[in-house]
Amino acid sequence: MKQIYRSLFLFTLILTAWTAMPTLLAQPTPAMYRGKFVRKEIRRTIVKPTFICTLTKGASPFVAFEFWEQHEITYFEINIYQAMQEVVREKNEDGLDVVKDFAPIPGQFIKDNDEIPRQEIQIKGLLANEKFSILGKEYVTDNKGRIYDLGQNILDLFDTMDTRSFELAISHATLGEQIITLTRNLISRQNPVIPGNNAASQYDILEAFGLNFTQQMQCGRDGLKVNVTTYGEITAGKRVAIVVDVTNSDAKPVSNLIARSFSRHQELNGKLFYFGLVTANQPVQSRRHLTLPPGVDGNKPFFKAFACLSRHPWHREKLFYVWLPNTDQPARFIRYVTIPTAVNAGQPLHLSIAFWDIIGAIPEKRQDLSLSIQANK
């Protein structure tokens, strides 16, 4: 028994000695120091798909949004440094280190443990045929990633004159929600008191309509002419368009022009029409006509290119088409209303369109309309 214990003890001793030997015999590891910054390394990446929404210009009288997919990428990066070690340059007579230096250790790097996040937005492209929820209603973008507020519900929000901004929440099933602040600035000043303030908002609907609501120092209303028409079947429950056209034949522009409908029927009451700056012989929404002689195809590249370059009227004899800026096109704004259902066929509906500009009300230009409800077919 004693021999077994003794053998066992010896075995253990030898084993321990054998395993400890390399450690005892090994050279001590040299200390590593952080040297120069080498590079960043992305340790991990988080991608959050989302969307952005902008107001589209030129879609008056509809507020139009354009949707783009974007990725919010968050990179968690760490810094990589060169590993440096101490190198003895000189020893003294006693063998002690007197001059030391730091030298990089080839192939060795030190990684920082702290992750530094970095965000990057990548626009991926238009979101076509995607469903969005706006004001509780579902909309689907068209193939250009746009949604048109054909019901003019956004405009209805701003029909209260005191409402200057509105926080609109737009949500997507997977891309999350965005809140944009729409504004409707009826009076902009040319030189704002505090620079930067009162600047045009990215989400101003009047800017999106291409209307100029900057307050003019010199303005008038003597040449203002207005006309109101309706389009559509005037039947209970149907939608009709109220079209207001304005022109100005005076040298002085009309500044900050708006109109409003008044009626005892809530469906017809309180609709605002926006015009802004109405200058003489220059419509707000100018269109250009290209008049070509018969037989000439205006879609040919030659004509298209020439049309883009030229902005001057050409005499008909010199060139066989003229470029006509359309000066007689009135400024126009359209609101769509629903004919009330509580009124019987044959009953008249009365409404007034009244006008206001920067000077004040323009009662002499008020247009009174009487519509007769037709029977449902």
Binding site: F262, R264, A354, W356, D368
Partner: protein
């Protein structure tokens, strides 16, 4: 014999046989005085006595007459006071007015009588004064003249008091006339029946029914003769609907001008025959659309027009935004009162002034003085006609 000769001589003198100084200015000298003047040393005692006696008799008769007239007037004044009390108790307003006018006229003529008595009293004083100047008066004649003078002075005082009583009597009559309430209804010259509505100071007249088509046409396009009266037909004319507020106001203006023209003409010729009434101004005789205050009164009564009607007051919206918008754009809505809810909404709502509906018409209102003054005018016309029919009385 001697007396007979004197009387014969006097008779000749009176007849003007003998040449007398006929150019003597007024007063004509008594024969005795004339003779004395012709020959100051000649005096005709009997003649003088006769003249004195004549003057005294005249003074005595005059005094008696004035005293009896004074008593008559006193009784008349008492009678007027009693009659006033009785007239005020009359339940019929038109009869009350007629009675008050008659009382005023009686008081006026009594006052004129007192003025005439005043003139006579002055004449009497002159007579007495002249009589007192005569010489050789008997003592009883002298004392009589003194007494007559005193009585005449008393008569004068009495007349003054009577004048004051009569003047103070006129004002309460006019007040009583003005306090007679307006008639419950009247018919305008255009044939529109107006009904009294409200209470106290809030009284006004409203047309019994909404203005009919016939009444509207009669005023807007009056026939020859300018009577602007709607022709009477067997079937009642329907209410004038499908009319805007502007046209309804225009109708009121034309109606007011027509009615005021009919009021003005008879006024001028009345002079002072009737009491002056302060309500005669034309500013209250206009016909207009009812306003909000009158609507509040009408809605509390049983007045229910057959259609919705325009009210000439702006409609105030419930929300501040609409109120501000109306002000900013200078637009106004007017109140429409629809007690029968023909529009299936609340009884009042706002509508644009140019709006027209088949169920929307209008009524007219006028100040309470209009009915009062029309009744007054009819009364005076009637009294003028009665006076014209009476035979003429020769004034005394």
């Amino acid at each position: 014999m001697r007396s007979l000769a004197i009387y014969a001589l006097l008779g000749c003198m009176y007849c003007g046989v003998l040449p007398l100084q006929a150019q003597t200015p007024t007063p004509a000298a008594t024969p005795a005085a004339a003779a004395a003047n012709a020959n100051p040393d000649v005096r005709f005692r009997a003649l003088e006595e006769h003249e004195q006696r004549g003057a005294v008799l005249k003074i005595r008769d005059q005094l008696l007459f004035e005293r009896s007239e004074r008593d008559k007037r006193e009784r008349a004044i008492v009678g007027l006071r009693n009659a006033l009390q009785g007239t005020l108790m009359n339940p019929d307003d038109t009869q009350k007015l007629a009675g008050l006018v008659t009382l005023w006229q009686d008081a006026n003529s009594l006052y004129n009588e007192v003025k005439r008595a005043n003139y006579r009293q002055l004449e009497l004083i002159t007579l007495i004064g002249n009589a007192k100047l005569s010489t050789g008066m008997l003592p009883q004649v002298a004392s009589f003249l003194l007494d007559a003078e005193k009585q005449t002075t008393q008569l004068g005082d009495n007349q003054k008091k009577q004048q004051e009583h009569l003047l103070s009597f006129g004002q309460p009559i006019i007040m009583a006339i003005c306090n007679v309430p307006p008639p419950r209804s009247f018919i305008t010259h255009s044939g529109i029946t107006m009904r009294l509505c409200g209470q106290g100071k809030e009284w006004f007249y409203v047309s019994e029914q909404p203005i009919t088509e016939a009444q509207y046409q009669a005023v807007i396009q009056p026939q020859a003769g300018d009577s602007a009266k709607a022709p009477t037909t067997d079937s009642p004319s329907p209410a004038k609907t499908d009319i805007s507020l502007t046209n309804a106001i225009r109708f009121c203006g034309m109606l007011s001008r027509l009615e005021q023209r009919n009021l003005l003409l008879p006024n001028i010729s009345r002079a002072n025959r009737y009491p002056p009434i302060p309500k005669a101004g034309n500013e209250n005789h206009t016909y207009v659309l009812p306003d909000n205050n009158q609507l509040n009164i009408l809605s509390l009564t049983s007045y229910t027009p057959s259609c919705a009607i325009w009210i000439n007051s702006p409609w105030l919206p419930n929300d501040l935004d609409t109120e501000r918008a109306l002000e900013r754009f200078a637009v106004s809505f007017n109140i429409v009162w629809d007690p029968r809810r023909l529009f299936a909404e609340s009884t009042t709502f706002g509508e644009l002034p140019f709006a027209r509906y088949p169920q929307l018409g209008f009524v007219i209102v006028t100040h309470r003085n209009t009915g009062w003054y029309l009744r007054w005018q009819h009364l005076l016309d009637k009294m003028d006609a009665e006076n014209a029919a009476k035979p003429l009385n020769t004034p005394e």
